[in-house]
Assembly symmetry: C2
Homo-oligomer: 461 residues x 2
């Protein structure tokens, strides 16, 4: 790539972005964070832990565990939702896979990063191993989320359009920052940790629809953890891993605005913009599901009444979730057609609605084939327009301006608790799930994260 003069000047202005960020991370004290930022961090944790426990029995986790267990180390950290402990590196990978495998975790809507996966997977394992307090954990989690979302802002959408799965590529910085904070890195070590992170981006969008998508946040967690551990020992890296001419931002994106990383650090909190998914599929389909559920409830719709469903959606919906004839449950998450049909028939869009059985159900398949979709570039990403034509000639219509779970219509604490229980009760039972949920909300009084981790253990080896 060549750099015109105007860009050269901009690059000079970007000097020191890595160090400014490192300085902020090292200097930050938990007491500096406003209460609403801390509470939102706890919401991110509750949502992430529910997803990780809920996904812990997925075949992807089983396969990865059986592949890697022969090489794992001592029992240092829990595999969430399972009756197993392993070394912190292996735990970070497997918990990261589990937390994303249902595509049900959190989303920073400006960048479509799923922030908690890479960060929490890394520091949950580290905190259990080192007996870190819940307050320190939440502080590091928030700093990690802030780091990856700001770095994501600096390169979105170009970086994502090229084909990077931004959760894995930006996530490694979040994991390195949070793990580095808990390891007590000094500023120079934090600069190196960010440099080591810059050299380990994970994830191509080409992998969407395969198990490798979930591998990305898990591997990003491991990479960030590795970066922080190496830096703590003095392993050197670039001073300008993010902003250098051949640093991460220039190499992985065609455009960048590095001021996004440093402007208002400690004042404007990007972590507040993390949102939680009410439905177990790609966020871009959520306005459609929300609208279908609203029409279903309002009109007591039955599949047999429906002649056709016409969707008008944001362009990304068909780009990311345009599978017309999904074959598996995982495929179904990338099908707006299946999602609309199953929501109308079953009145939900949780994990059960994306099972192989649901995707292969004849009634759902029949309705799916009556869904049509057109893109409308004028629509916001959290909006959708839906028309349902009935056999009796009626025409039902809804415009969803902001889907449930969006920044404008966030899930309530009750919504989060219901989602948590849906995911966790099947794994650890009602009583343990209730105790775990209480402990999560009360995490800032937890003196040792090993105690909270112990409460996540299930039956499965």
């Amino acid at each position: 790539m060549s750099f015109p003069d105007s860009q050269q000047a901009a690059m000079r202005a970007d000097e020191g972005v890595t160090r400014v960020l490192a300085h902020y991370l090292v200097a930050s004290r938990a007491g500096d964070l406003p209460e609403k930022v801390r509470i939102h961090g706890i919401c991110s944790f509750v949502n992430w832990l529910g997803c990780a426990v809920g996904g812990s029995g997925h075949p992807a986790v089983d396969m990865a565990y059986s592949a890697l267990a022969p090489f794992a180390g001592a029992e240092q950290a829990s595999l969430l939702g399972r009756n197993t402990r392993t070394d912190i590196m292996t735990a970070a990978l497997l918990n990261g896979i589990a937390s994303h495998v249902f595509d049900y975790d959190d989303t920073h809507l400006k960048t479509v990063i799923h922030p908690a996966g890479p960060v929490a997977s890394a520091i949950m394992a580290l905190s259990e191993f080192r007996g870190i307090s819940g307050a320190e954990f939440i502080h590091a989690l928030i700093l990690g989320i802030e780091t990856e979302c700001r770095i994501g802002n600096a390169v979105y959408p170009d970086h994502y359009d090229i084909g990077w799965h931004i959760t894995g590529t930006a996530g490694v910085f979040g994991a390195a920052a949070a793990a580095g904070k808990l390891l007590g890195l000094d500023e120079q070590q934090m600069v190196w940790a960010l440099g080591l992170a810059a050299s380990q981006p994970v994830g191509l969008r080409e992998m969407f629809g395969t198990m490798t998508k979930s591998f990305h946040p898990g591997r990003a967690a491991q990479n960030g953890l590795t970066a922080a551990l190496l830096a703590a020992k003095g392993y050197t890296s670039s001073e300008q891993g993010i902003e250098a001419k051949r640093g991460w931002a220039n190499v992985t994106s065609t455009h960048r605005n590095l001021a996004e990383i440093t402007e208002g650090l400690g004042e404007r909190h990007e972590s507040l913009l993390n949102t939680f998914k009410p439905f177990a599929c790609g966020i871009v389909i959520h306005p459609v599901i929300d609208g279908c559920l609203q029409l279903r409830d309002e009109h007591s719709l039955q599949a047999a009444d429906i002649d056709g469903i016409e969707l008008r959606v944001h362009p990304l919906v068909l780009e990311l979730t345009g599978k017309r004839t999904p074959k598996t449950g995982l495929d179904g998450k990338f099908s707006v057609y299946h999602s609309a049909a199953v929501a109308l028939i079953q009145g939900r869009a949780g994990e059960a609605q994306y099972s192989n059985a649901a995707v292969q159900d004849e009634q759902i398949m029949a309705l799916r084939d009556r869904v049509s979709a057109v893109i409308d570039p004028a629509l916001a990403a959290d909006a959708a327009h839906i028309v349902i034509r009935l056999h009796n000639g009626r025409r039902l219509e809804i415009f969803v301006e902001h889907a449930i779970g969006s920044a404008a219509r966030p899930m309530t604490e009750r919504d989060l608790n219901n989602k948590f229980n849906d995911l966790v009760v099947p794994i650890v039972g009602q009583d343990q799930a209730a105790a775990l949920l209480r402990a999560c909300w009360d995490i800032e009084s937890c003196r040792n994260m090993a105690e909270l981790s112990a409460m996540t253990q299930g039956e499965r080896r």
Copy 2:
């Protein structure tokens, strides 16, 4: 990125590159390889092992080991040159760092990939653990080198110009292919392993001059090994990890020629183009060092006689190794000025010539300041023109058309043995080094690579 029609058509023609490569890797039998290819593979192994043993005591290896040992698994594989065994993942990383830390390993000149590091580091550990024979090992090593060099050819130079350290980004495919071969993957599993590799590129050129550069081949080895192990258990990935619109080649390079990957597979052997470094620094400086040594020998030059040294070099020389005032031994490897000066004074350019002491030596610094260099885009990468002006008015001149160690002037077996001994004798002593070297050349009769690995152990923990 958007794709014009002509490129769309080219992309359609590229369909199936990943599968064609996987098919070749799975179907290949050791007996299919011509003898000269097998012998060249053994040369690559001898050169790599010498570098890895020689580098085993470097602070970067010590730091990485102390950072990661607490999380390592059972004693499955040797840390080369040390008195330690660890799990195969940790061994792959540390041996990969050790093998590259002197910048003294091999080079595929068409792409500046250092091929053996990612591949051999992965499969040396795996082979020791699983008791693989030497013949199988060499076969897999050659396939891995073939894979990464062909993938490198497909995207070089654009991929490298953008800022990727191609050894780490292409190397992960080589490691996955070789490990996958030894694990006996079927074609579908090999496709997935290559897809998992595609999602884990390692290495920015921004890290050159820091310890993170050596981390790249080590991490690439781990990533490829992980990819193969996961795929062996059925962990799914893209069917077109290399060639898809959002696959590795399109995401990490502005231009690509995917036919390089598949054309003549099994007939044209890219692995034959692997070369070995006679000098312990970046390959681009080698023509200069070669010429300086030739002039020194021919004219019995003394530093005190020299008024000035004028270099005319390939543009990459100043781009990669243009440090005027290196401060450390590692810096010195990125300084054509230091390299010319130390070669003229000490008559060598081995690891000792890139110590901190050598770089800070007053006589060498004084001569270094009398070296000037200009670029000449007409020069080949393995050529250089040197003029030395003496105080007595004489003007010595040499044009190096092909540096020693280039494809046109390869190192002999004797050169390789001398280099091996220089590196290995200080670590394991004369007798063990001699026995190890014999075993390396005779690797195809080794029934169990654990026996050869045991011979690499040194004193250092």
